[in-house]
C-alpha cells in the first residue's frame, strides 16, 4: 500500500456532487492530468496551493471545505 500524504480531501465527493464530473474534466479545468486527479483523490499527492485554490473555486467552496489535515 503506497504511503499517503497527511492532507485529506473531499475532491471525489465534491466532484460527484457537481453533476458527476469526471476526473478528466476536473483535470482539464484545473490544468493537471487525470492521473494527478486520481493521485489527489487517493491522498497520494498534495496539490500545489494554486491547484488547491482552483479546485475549491471550481466547486464554489472554501479551501478548508476541500482539504484538511489528517490528525
Amino acid at each position: 500500500m503506497p504511503p499517503k500524504t497527511p492532507i485529506v480531501n473531499r475532491v471525489r465527493e465534491l466532484r460527484e456532487q457537481h453533476g458527476a464530473m469526471t476526473q478528466a474534466q476536473l483535470g482539464e479545468a484545473i490544468g493537471v492530468t487525470r492521473q494527478t486527479v486520481i493521485a489527489i483523490e487517493q491522498n497520494r499527492y498534495s496539490p500545489s496551493l494554486e491547484s488547491a485554490f482552483r479546485i475549491a473555486r471550481l466547486f464554489g467552496v472554501g479551501l478548508e471545505d476541500v482539504f484538511s489535515w489528517d490528525d
Partner: protein
C-alpha cells in the same frame, strides 16, 4: 497508467537492451583477448541505434493508444516526479563516476575507465526512469 509512465517503462527497457548489446560485446571481447576492449565507434553506434529504434517504436505504439495523453503538457505532479527522480539519479551517476576514477587509479586503464563511466551514466539514467515509475505509483 499515464503516457509518461509508459514512456519511462519504454526508455528503461530500451536502455537495458542497449546496455546488454554494448556490455555483452565488451565482455565477449574480453573473453577472447583477455584484455579490456577499446571503445569502438561501431559498438556505440549500435547501442544508440538500438535505443533510438526501441524508443521511437515504443512511443509511437504507446501514443497510438492514448493520443490525447501523449500531447498533454507536463503538470505540477509530473514536474515534481521528474525533479526528484533526476536528483536521486544524479547521485547514482556521480557515485559511479567517482568509483570509476578510483578503479582507474589502480588499473591505469583508459579503456576500462571509458566503459565504467559509460556504465555509470547508463545506470544513472536507468535509476532516473525506475524512480519515475516508483513515484508515479506511490505518493510524492
Amino acid at each position: 497508467m499515464s503516457f509518461r509512465e509508459k514512456s519511462a517503462w519504454i526508455m528503461s527497457i530500451a536502455l537495458l537492451l542497449g546496455g546488454m548489446v554494448y556490455f555483452s560485446t565488451v565482455v565477449s571481447m574480453w573473453f577472447e583477448s583477455r584484455q579490456v576492449a577499446s571503445p569502438a565507434i561501431p559498438l556505440l553506434v549500435a547501442y544508440v541505434l538500438v535505443i533510438c529504434v526501441l524508443a521511437v517504436l515504443g512511443h509511437i505504439i504507446a501514443a497510438s493508444f492514448t493520443p490525447k495523453d501523449a500531447h498533454a503538457a507536463v503538470d505540477e505532479r509530473e514536474r515534481q516526479i521528474f525533479n526528484r527522480a533526476g536528483h536521486t539519479a544524479s547521485f547514482v551517476s556521480g557515485a559511479g563516476v567517482a568509483m570509476s576514477l578510483g578503479v582507474y587509479l589502480f588499473s591505469q586503464s583508459g579503456d576500462l575507465l571509458f566503459h565504467t563511466v559509460f556504465a555509470s551514466l547508463m545506470l544513472g539514467q536507468l535509476a532516473d526512469y525506475f524512480l519515475q515509475i516508483r513515484f508515479y505509483r506511490t505518493s510524492i
